[in-house]
C-alpha cells in the first residue's frame, strides 16, 4: 500500500479528531459537574460556526468573529442551563435526557429559522496555500485546528489544576457534599461547566467552519461524534476524551479512504457499539 494517501488520511483524521476532542471535552466537563449527558452540545458547535460567520459578514474581522461567536454561544449555554435544567424538580436521568434532546432539537429548529437551510462559508484563518509534508499536503487551517486545540487543552488543564475556580470545580465533581461544606456553590459550578463546554463547542465549530461550511444541521452529527469520543475515553477523563476524539477521527478518515465514503458516518457509531460491548468503561478507566 502506498504511503502518501495514508499520510493524507492521517492529517485529515487528526484534524477532525481534534474537533471531536474539543466537543468530547464539553461532554466530559458537564458530566463531571452534573452527571448529565448534554445532548445539546452539538448544537453549540453549530451555533458557534453560524454566529461567527454572521458576525464576519457584518464586520470582516476573523478574531472578532471568533471571539464574538464564542461569547455569544457561552451565554446561550448558560441560558440553557438556567432555563431548561435548573427548574427540573425530579432530575432522574430519563427526564434529563429528554430535556437536553428537546433542547437540541429546539435550538436546531431556531437556527433553521434564522439561517435557513443553506450552507455558509468562513474564510480560512490564514489563506489556503497548501504546505507539502512529504508526499501529502497540509492546509494552513489544519494547523490552526491542531494548534489551537492543543493550546486550549493546555489552558484547560492549567485552569483545572492551578486556579482556585478550577480546583473548586474538580472538588465539586469529586464530592459535591464536601465541596458544599467548604463553601463552594454547586449551582455556580454547574453553570460554569455549561459555560465552559458551550465555549469549547463554539470554538470547535468556528475552527472547523472554513473546512466544512456551516449549516443549521451540522451540530447533530458532530455532537454525536464528540459524544462517541467521550465514551471511547471513558466519559470521566479529559485525557481519555481527547484520545478518543483523535482515534475516532483517524479511524473515520482511514475507513473513508480505504473502504467507502458512504459509510463514513457509520464508523463512529460502530465503534461506539463495539466499545459498549467490549469495554464499557472506555479505553481509559474514568476517574476524577
Amino acid at each position: 500500500m502506498e504511503l502518501a494517501p495514508i499520510l493524507q488520511y492521517l492529517i485529515s483524521g487528526l484534524t477532525n479528531g481534534a474537533i471531536y476532542a474539543l466537543i468530547a471535552l464539553g461532554f466530559v466537563i458537564i458530566y463531571h459537574a452534573t452527571t448529565i449527558i448534554n445532548f445539546a452540545q452539538g448544537e453549540m458547535v453549530m451555533l458557534g460556526a453560524l454566529s461567527a460567520i454572521s458576525i464576519y459578514h457584518f464586520h470582516p474581522s476573523l478574531p472578532l468573529a471568533f471571539l464574538g461567536g464564542v461569547v455569544l454561544v457561552t451565554l446561550i449555554g448558560i441560558l440553557f442551563e438556567r432555563l431548561a435544567l435548573r427548574p427540573v424538580k425530579d432530575p432522574n436521568h430519563i427526564t434529563l435526557i429528554i430535556i437536553t434532546v428537546g433542547g437540541a432539537v429546539f435550538i436546531r429548529g431556531i437556527a433553521m429559522l434564522i439561517w435557513g437551510k443553506e450552507a455558509y462559508s468562513l474564510p480560512s484563518f490564514s489563506g489556503d496555500a497548501p504546505f507539502h509534508l512529504g508526499p501529502a499536503t497540509l492546509l494552513p487551517q489544519n494547523l490552526w485546528v491542531l494548534g489551537l486545540t492543543g493550546v486550549v487543552l493546555l489552558a484547560l488543564e492549567a485552569f483545572f489544576r492551578l486556579t482556585l475556580v478550577g480546583k473548586a470545580m474538580r472538588a465539586c465533581a469529586y464530592n459535591p457534599r464536601a465541596a458544599r461544606l467548604v463553601g463552594i456553590s454547586q449551582g455556580r459550578m454547574v453553570q460554569l461547566s455549561f459555560a465552559l463546554s458551550a465555549a469549547l463547542g463554539a470554538g470547535a465549530g468556528i475552527l472547523i467552519a472554513p473546512l466544512t461550511l456551516g449549516v443549521y444541521d451540522m451540530g447533530t452529527m458532530l455532537g454525536l461524534k464528540g459524544f462517541c469520543a467521550a465514551i471511547l475515553g471513558g466519559l470521566g477523563s479529559s485525557f481519555g476524551g481527547v484520545l478518543g476524539g483523535l482515534i475516532l477521527g483517524v479511524a473515520e478518515s482511514l475507513a473513508t479512504g480505504l473502504i467507502s465514503s458512504g459509510y463514513r458516518d457509520a464508523v463512529a457509531f460502530f465503534i461506539l457499539l463495539l466499545v459498549l460491548f467490549l469495554r464499557p468503561q472506555g479505553l481509559i478507566r474514568g476517574g476524577s
Binding site: 427540573v88 428537546g102 429546539f106 467507502s260 457509520a266 464499557p280
Partner: protein, 321 residues
Amino acid sequence: MNPRQFLNPWVLFGAGVLLVAGVVHNDYYLTLINFIGIFTLLVVGLNLLMGYGGQISLGHAAFFALGAYTSGILTATYGLDPWLALLAGLVVCGLTAFLIGVPALKLRGYYLAMATLGFGIIVYIFLNEAQDWTGGPSGLVGIPNLSLGGFELNTPKRLYLLIWPVLGIILGLSANLVNSRTGRALRALHDGEAAAQSLGVNTARVKMMIFVWSALYASLAGSLYAHTLNFIAPSSFTFMFSIKLVTMVVLGGMASIWGSLLGAAVLTVLPELLTVFHDYEVIIFGAILMVVMIFLPRGLVRGILDLWEFRRYKKEGGIIG
C-alpha cells in the same frame, strides 16, 4: 350493568373503532387513522420502555425500519408470503434488540440511550447505502398488499379493519403486561432499582424483556406500514422520527397506555391540519419535550389533570395529601 362500566376505556375503544368503521368512508381520513394506529403501536412499545422500564430508546425508528424493510425486501424482492415476512421481521427485530440490550442494559443510566441512538444512525446509513438490497435513498417499491382469508387488504377501509383490531389486541396485551407480576416488577424497577433487586426482582431480565417487547411492537408496526404504503424509503426512519416518537410518548404521558394513543393521534393529525405546524415541526417538538418534562413530568394530560385537581382541592379548602 352499572353505568360506570360503560365508561370502561376498553368498551369506549371498541365502540370507537366500530363507530369509525361505520361512519368514515373517506379514504384520506381512513389512511390518516390507519397511520395513527400504526404509530400508536410504536408509541405504546416505547412508552412501556420509558414509563415502566425507566429506560429510553433514541433509535426506535431503526426497529420500525427493520420490520418494514424485512417485510418489504422478503415480499417485493423474494416473493415471500407477507405474513411469513412479518414473522421474519419480528424475529430479526427481537434478536437485534436482544443483542443491543445485553451489553447496554447491564450498565445503568445512559447506556441504552447511547446504544440505541448509535444503532438508529447506523441503520439509517445502511438503508441509504446498501442499494442492492434496500433500493437506497429512492426507496423500495412494489411491496404487495396483505391478504386475509382470501381478501386482499388493498383499500384503506380493509386495512383499517386489520390495523385497529390488531392495535386493540396489542393495547390489551400491554395493559395485561403492566398489571401482571412482570408489570409490578417493572414499576418497582422504575421507582428504585436497588429496592426492586432486594425484593428479588431480576432487574436485568425484566429490563431486557421490556426492551425486546418494545422492539417487537416496532417491528409489527413497520411491517404494517410497509404493506399499507406499498413503498418505503429511508426518509421515514430518521433520527428525527425517533425523536418524534419520544415526543408522542412525552405528550401522552409516560406510563400511560391511553396516553400513547393520544400522543400519536395529536402529533399525526396536527401537521396535517396546520401547515404552520409542519413548517415549525422541529421547534414545536423541542419545545414540547422541554416544557412538558420541566413542568409536567407526568405528561401533558396527567399534568393538566393534576393541576386541575390541585386547584379544586384548594378551592374546597381540602388538605392535599
